[in-house]
């Protein structure tokens, strides 16, 4: 079971969350200038790294708010969770949320 650190509610069990896939995706535009290949890339091609992945999570049975996370796809360790609209802290920086217990509170319990 993963322990996921919601930036609004604090650490909660995995079953309260839904993963929404890759974050920080920009819709290409204006649409009259977007090729089929660019649309395909936007719609269907995703980063699928074996390592750290930036992704969106939804606290579906908690505060029902979306947030971002940087998580390792091999260890499932969350390096950091941060609010929508904020930039992802690079490794070594402190967590975005002052109220979050720890930048690396998320993990496997």
């Amino acid at each position: 079971m993963l322990l996921i650190d919601c930036p609004f509610c604090g650490p909660r069990a995995e079953i309260e969350f839904r993963c929404g896939g890759e974050s920080h995706i920009q819709r290409p535009g204006p649409h009259t200038h977007v090729s089929d290949a660019e649309w395909a890339d936007y719609l269907y091609y995703r980063e699928n790294p074996k390592g750290e992945h930036r992704e969106r999570w939804f606290h579906s049975t908690g505060c029902r708010r979306w947030f971002n996370a940087a998580r390792d796809t091999v260890t499932h360790q969350f390096r950091v969770t941060y609010k929508m609209g904020e930039a992802c802290p690079e490794a070594g920086e402190s967590a975005v949320s002052e109220t979050a217990p720890s930048a690396v509170a998320g993990g496997i319990v």
Binding site: E14, C19, A37, L43, R46, N48, K50, T73, H76
Partner: protein
């Protein structure tokens, strides 16, 4: 010296103290150049190597595997074989695969233990029932065996089902020719047959990079040195993105963990394969007596080869809803494989933007049943440069053209 397996060879070796058996496949040192290289020693890669040799006469072929053959998803799946699909393209492809499976034991001279015990999809509400009728009709229109059964008929055909479930069983679809095979035997049988035709099966050999000149692939850098070939096929489901990135390619694939379990072995009590979408369950009984259960995908990216606990609990609850009498059985093993999921739940077989580099992947949760046809079609496109008619709709270009084959919506498959 015993190379061909038969009742007579068993008897002879029995009397001979089992001293005459040979290794099932050779363990060669890689050559500097091959006519074709297949990356990935799972079912699809081994089948590709075999059909390259058998169907296309290409015997100067190397199969490169990072670990050991059959040690990836081929050894981690729940061994179900079926062709209960909706769209004509998928139905024709998977049906061809079932037909190849039916002849595989004889063809490979290796008992893959294909048991056509039937594959049931149960319906627990009005919508499930409508889906079941639609599914049965689609299968029959595609020329595939399908039977629609109402609730009493399901109970008559599957002894032991819970007579008073919380979610009533209103009906179901059976594909009588569906079933299960021994997954390791499929890998070993293909490996043995390919090796006998001259294919070099190279294990413990990791591909570290591709040699690409002017947009054309010329070989691979491996932990065993440089191996050159102008024709390379990759069949590394689960790690397709990781390997493709080494060739500078991006793929429309997301990797997730799919977990499965087996119970302790018990006497024969379930003689078919059951899928119940509403309760999130599928299960069968192995020839050893273990109940084989599958769970759903962990829906966050994962290369961990380890499933999560909530899905394990849900799968167990689903089984107990159908068979309360299994409640005191214990899980013996739990594992997960990494599946590569594409947006329309249809595989990718065909060329890439790098000349001479071909891909077989995107199988999602159902690659095992496709092993013979996937290998057949990848071998075809590698040998001829043209997509096989059965796989012509499965190219990467569909993500740009929009010609998707959305089987997740159409046949209700799990990914």
């Amino acid at each position: 010296m015993t190379r061909r397996y038969s009742a007579l060879s068993l008897l002879r070796e029995g009397l001979n103290g089992q001293r005459g058996w040979e290794p099932a496949w050779r363990d060669p040192t890689p050559k500097a150049h091959y006519d074709a290289i297949v990356i990935g020693g799972g079912g699809h890669g081994l089948a590709t190597a075999y059909y390259l040799a058998k169907n296309h006469g290409l015997t100067n072929v190397a199969l490169i595997e990072r670990g050991w053959i059959g040690g990836g998803n081929t050894g981690r799946n729940t061994t179900i074989i079926r062709s209960n699909y909706f769209f004509p393209e998928s139905a024709a492809f998977y049906e061809f695969s079932v037909q190849l499976y039916e002849k595989l034991t004889d063809e490979l001279n290796y008992n893959i233990m294909f048991s056509q015990r039937g594959m049931w999809t149960l319906a627990h509400d009005r919508h499930g029932l409508e889906m079941a009728r639609r599914s049965a009709n689609a299968m029959l229109l595609n020329g595939i065996d399908a039977e629609f059964h109402d609730g009493p008929s399901v109970y008559a055909n599957i002894p032991g089902l819970n007579p008073n479930p919380r979610f009533p069983i209103l009906g179901g679809v059976n594909q009588p020719r569906g079933g299960s095979a021994r997954h390791d035997a499929v890998a070993w049988g293909y490996a043995r047959a390919a090796s006998a035709l001259g294919v070099d099966i190279i294990q413990n050999c990791e591909v570290q990079g591709f040699i690409i000149e002017g947009g054309q692939v010329r070989g691979v850098e491996t932990s065993h040195g440089t191996i050159r070939s102008d024709r390379i096929g990759m069949a590394v489901a689960g790690h397709s993105s990781v390997l493709a990135a080494k060739a500078g390619l991006r793929l429309p694939i997301s990797s997730y963990a799919l977990q499965a379990f087996v119970s302790e072995p018990v006497k024969p009590c379930l003689d078919t394969v059951i899928l119940s979408p509403a309760t999130g369950t599928y299960l069968s009984q192995s020839d050893k007596g273990e109940l084989v259960l599958g769970a759903g995908l962990d829906l966050y990216l994962s290369y961990a080869q380890r499933g999560n606990l909530p899905w394990m609990e849900r799968a167990a609850a689903g089984v107990l809803e159908l068979f309360p009498q299994f409640s005191r059985m214990r899980f013996l093993r739990q594992w997960a494989g990494i599946v590569d999921v594409v947006h329309d739940s249809t595989p990718i077989i065909g060329p890439t933007s790098v000349g001479g580099l071909y891909i077989n992947g995107g199988w999602g949760t159902g690659g095992f049943k496709a092993v013979p046809a996937g290998g057949w079609c990848l071998a075809h496109v590698m040998a001829t440069g043209q997509s096989h008619p059965l796989a012509s709709a499965f190219g990467l270009e569909r993500f740009e053209s929009g010609a998707m084959i959305d089987e997740a919506s159409a046949s209700g498959i799990a990914h």
